[in-house]
């Protein structure tokens, strides 16, 4: 026992332990530095973000499912912005065409799940001719996975319109986004007819399209 305590309290032994710990830590840092290559040419949020102009009052944040939505029947905020290539895109205006507006964040797993469903749905010819489908590329973050969002849209073969939100996610705020994916359906008169958060399967997208076109949903 005396030997044990003497060894445990031996200062040289402790020094050796500290040195061994420092050596292990040094080795870990060395391996980490040598095994990681960081690129300086990465796009930042500022590079990607748009500068949309928004007219009209902000909508209230979309309520939880099952609760009445006070924004139904209100005029949609009108947004003049651009896509990732700088081409002008607008949402919310009364163009005489319905609008299915989907708010997507490239890092969001649910959006990553939803986008291929939407692409397939469009490819099946289920988007009516009198309805526009517009993705709002929002909640931009260059430190989160799946960055930048434009690469994601290309990779998923999404060929409909995209409008890019700004750094503060002003479009999302104006439309009352709570979480992504988020759908806002605007009728041909520019009036909000539906808002919902979550993944929408193709059958629900059919219903959104009918609402956007200003048609009654078939009774089931």
């Amino acid at each position: 026992m005396a030997t044990t305590q003497a060894r445990a309290q031996d200062p040289r032994r402790k020094l050796l332990l500290v040195a061994a710990g420092a050596a292990v830590l040094g080795l870990v840092v060395l391996i980490a530095v040598l095994s990681v290559t960081e690129s300086d040419s990465r796009l930042t949020v500022t590079d990607v973000a748009g500068s949309p102009e928004i007219e009209g009052a902000d909508l209230t944040v979309v309520p939880e499912p099952g609760e009445p939505d006070p924004a139904i029947g209100e005029a949609a905020p009108v947004v003049q912005g651009a896509d990732h290539d700088g081409n002008p895109v607008s949402i919310g205006d009364a163009t005489g065409r319905g609008q299915m507006i989907m708010f997507m964040a490239s890092w969001c797993q649910f959006c990553q799940q939803e986008l291929p469903t939407v692409v397939d749905w469009v490819a099946e010819g289920r988007l009516p001719d009198d309805v526009d489908l517009i993705a709002v590329s929002t909640s931009l973050s260059d430190v989160r996975p799946n960055w930048p969002p434009q690469d994601w849209f290309v990779r998923e073969n999404y060929q409909n319109q995209v409008i890019v939100d700004d750094v503060q996610s002003s479009i999302a705020r104006a439309y009352g986004l709570r979480a992504t994916p988020y759908w806002v359906i605007v009728n041909p008169e520019g009036v909000i007819v539906h808002r919902s958060t979550g993944i929408s399967p193709s059958g629900v997208l059919d219903a959104f399209a009918e609402l956007a076109a200003g048609r009654q949903l078939p009774q089931t």
Binding site: T3, R7, A8, A32, W107, C108, V143, R178, A179, T197
Partner: protein, 175 residues
């Protein structure tokens, strides 16, 4: 620099996993060496808690990884362990088991739930744009996410404080 720190965190977590494996075997065989019990267990537990605390602060304050609600709960469990274990080292008090284990048990439980949310995002609801719980900020070596690293730290700290209390069954001469 952030990627390097992520890799360091990943490598240290792997080392800690090795430590956990060693401690489990040693505890099951009731053969924890005296040097581990007397010299290493509590300082290592303090170092692991300190590393986890420093890492979490680096990732939120420097890397800009916004902590989600579950991250905060794990932080609440991890941060006091630096003080609790640190004071135990200074006072040479191996009787911190009853203080540390409830904290690490709560922290580990939250980490396990967080890992489940990462694997099945629907458990955590849709993507809160500010701080989504399902987002894997880090995924080193394909499995070491932030809550996985936290779980490893909580388990290692638990085993170390248990090891520090083990009765003296192996003399240092056997090392």
């Amino acid at each position: 620099m952030v990627a390097v720190v992520e890799r360091i965190a990943g490598l240290l977590s792997l080392l800690t996993l090795g430590l956990i494996a060693y401690l489990i075997v040693a505890l099951l065989r009731r053969q924890v060496p005296a040097i581990v019990r007397q010299d290493l267990a509590l300082p290592l537990a303090t170092l692991i808690a300190f590393g986890a605390t420093a890492g979490s602060l680096f990732f939120s304050e420097v890397a800009g990884y916004t902590p989600c609600v579950l991250c905060w709960y794990q932080r609440i469990a991890m941060y006091p362990l630096v003080i609790v274990c640190g004071v135990a080292v200074l006072r040479r008090n191996a009787n911190v088991l009853t203080t540390v284990l409830p904290i690490t048990a709560i922290g580990a439980s939250i980490s396990i739930w967080h890992i489940m949310v990462e694997q099945r995002p629907a458990l955590g609801g849709m993507c809160d744009s500010q701080a989504p719980c399902a987002l894997k900020w880090i995924n080193e070596f394909g499995f070491l996410t932030l809550p996985t690293m936290a779980l490893i730290a909580f388990v290692a700290i638990s085993l170390l404080v248990i090891a520090a209390r083990q009765p003296n069954t192996v003399s240092t001469n056997s090392l």
